[in-house]
Amino acid sequence: MIRFLLKGLLRDRSRSLFPILTVTAGVMATSLGHSWFNGALGGMITTTANFQTGYVKVMSRAYAELSDEMPNDLALVEVEALLDELENAYPEWQFTPRIHFGGLLDIPDEHGETRSQAPTMGFAVDLLNPDAGELKRLKINESIVRGRAPQQPNEILVADELARKLEVEPGQVATIISSTMNGSMAFFNFTVSGTVNFGILALDRGSIIADIRGARRALDMEDAAGEIVGFMPGDNYRDETAQALADDFNARYSYTEDQFSPTMVTLADQNGNRWILDMVGAMGSILVTIFIIVMSLVLWNSGLMGSLRRYGEIGVRLAIGESHGQIYRAMLLESVLIGIMGSIIGTAIGVSLGLWIQSHGIDIGSMMKESSIMMDNVIRTKVTTTTWYIGFIPGLLATFIGTAFAGIGIYRRQTASLFKELEV
């Protein structure tokens, strides 16, 4: 029976071509869309975690209230002791201190006076301790454009765009003017060890990267840090694990009545990330639902047109004794075969495109010139096992549902009037 129907479909292209093309397009879009959102949103989460939020972040309660303002006067103190406690209590996690600070980057002339200057955002991390993992996490070595990574506490990396604007080269002195933890003016001479381009516009516009030891000297923050970020083993953020850790930590160390006691928040609870995480989780279902509805409508319409065109054929089949149910089931089986063929072709194209974009990426930097979102300029898809089968769901369901609706007309045909119809 299947062979018979298959032959019919292949020999009569007018019956199969349009539905297969429709299914192919829909399945391809579902498959590619799944890998796109997986890659884009997942990449955004990873970048945000690595550069901004960690999987969990520890701050003072007062700092957490105003964290967007980077209020270093409310920073954590006695950080080394707190790090020891964190490492002992949660040995499978990796914790590292960071400081964010704003200020002015000033380049001197030969007389030590201002030659050029620009506002900058400082990002201080533990660059000199290889065990902290920050060089790898932030892809520092891969991002260096000129010079090298800092090897001394008083060395910094400057965003390449900013360095060119200020006409500063590796090896030259750059002075940071900022505020100390106590609110005093902070002046500190750093040496530019290199320039850097992360491919993240929010960072590449005007940031500097310093080792945390140098930043602590500059900002008078000995044994202090704005925040401690924590990362769990493996590449994927798991909200339940992070939330369990945060709940345990806060129960042990955080006191409502002490605004300077530490508090831990998860990645999901920072910067509106929960919405993005929920989107990543729900995107497969959303895409499948959309394409089932759209393709069902298209295929229903196409089935109706096909039924009209096959009016004579169906009439003859009824006239020679096939029951309405047999014809209806045969058409449904035809639709499943079309769905399978379209889904196979659509998945093959969608996954191939997905793998290509995963490998080459698409540069959206020009669209993000004014953006402050922490995401890579180059978007890459992420093809997972789900990408391989997700297109089959709308591919098969839509053809089946479309045909089921279109085929209802078969039951309305009156056998008694068949011969009159066939005379026409």
């Binding site: 007062a62 105003l66 209020p71 006067d73 409310l74 002015l104 000033d106 001197p108 007389h111 030590g112 006076e113 201002t114 200057q117 506002p119 002075t175 003017i177 505020s179 100390t180 106590n182 609110g183 005093s184 003016m185 002046f187 500190f188 001479n189 008078d220 605004q259 300077f260």
Partner: protein, 256 residues
């Protein structure tokens, strides 16, 4: 720099509140015109030369700290301040000439021009910004005044003067100044954005008489957008019309 320099000239902003030794006409309780009140404030704020030593106490969420400074001021254009204490600030200097501001840090041996975005930042963690310090026009030049009523401040009867910016580009779109009717000194000031949002508030806690002028001895300044507890200014000493050598207002003095 903020200390008394602000009180004298750089901080005309702050010192609107300051001394307001008005004309005898005003002393007689007769209602002055708004322009007379404002002109009297301007006349009082600008001295030919002024040397002041002041202490600034900054109250933050983690505690308070004091900064002492000495300032030399000439007219409304030039001011030079040297920080005296604490040790971390000692030797930091600031020079304002016209609309330019430089700072010197002994730790880096750098003379750095403060400009652009940095002008909006807090100075020394206080409730004052560099923009507050950079105001160098008189209030009469910047604002149109109107007397909107009278009200007691700390038990003293005051005129309420409302100032509206003549030019939309200036830092504060409007201000309200409460002027002691008897002593003719501003005791309170509030500053607003164009939206009407209150940005800063200053209160004079204590006044004293110097060379015939009533002058604030102790005042508080609060940035209403910050979480700190405000900044206090205390005038330790002030010398009007002191001799100030010309080199004081050159960049060379910063490294001296």
């Amino acid at each position: 720099m903020i200390g008394v320099t602000s009180m004298n000239r750089i901080g005309r902003a702050i010192f609107v509140l300051m001394v307001s030794q008005l004309t005898p006409l005003l002393n007689g309780q007769q209602q002055p015109t708004a322009k007379e009140l404002l002109q009297a404030l301007d006349d009082n704020m600008v001295a030919e030369n002024r040397v002041t030593v002041s202490t600034m106490i900054i109250h933050g969420r983690r505690g308070s700290r004091s900064i002492q400074s000495k300032s030399w001021t000439q007219g409304s254009e030039k001011a030079y301040t040297e920080y005296l204490a604490p040790a971390r600030e000692r030797g930091t200097k600031m020079l304002k000439v016209g609309d330019q501001l430089w700072t010197y840090s002994p730790a880096t041996d750098r003379i750095i021009q403060i400009a652009g975005h940095m002008l909006r930042q807090s100075v020394m963690g206080s409730d004052l910004s560099y923009e507050d310090m950079m105001e160098d026009q008189t209030l009469s030049e910047m604002y149109s005044p109107e007397i909107v009523g009278s009200e007691p401040v700390d038990g003293r009867d005051c005129w309420i003067l409302e100032l509206t910016a003549k030019n939309p580009g200036i830092t504060y779109h409007s201000r309200r100044v409460w002027i002691d009717k008897e002593r003719n000194i501003a005791l309170k000031e509030t500053r607003y954005a164009a939206s009407g949002k209150l940005l800063k508030e200053a209160l004079v806690k204590e006044v004293f008489q110097v060379e015939g002028r009533w002058y604030p001895k102790h005042m508080t300044f609060k940035d209403m957008l910050s979480t700190g507890e405000g900044t206090e200014f205390i005038v330790d000493s002030i010398d009007f019309n002191a001799e100030i050598p010309d080199y004081i207002f050159t960049k060379a003095v910063l490294r001296r």
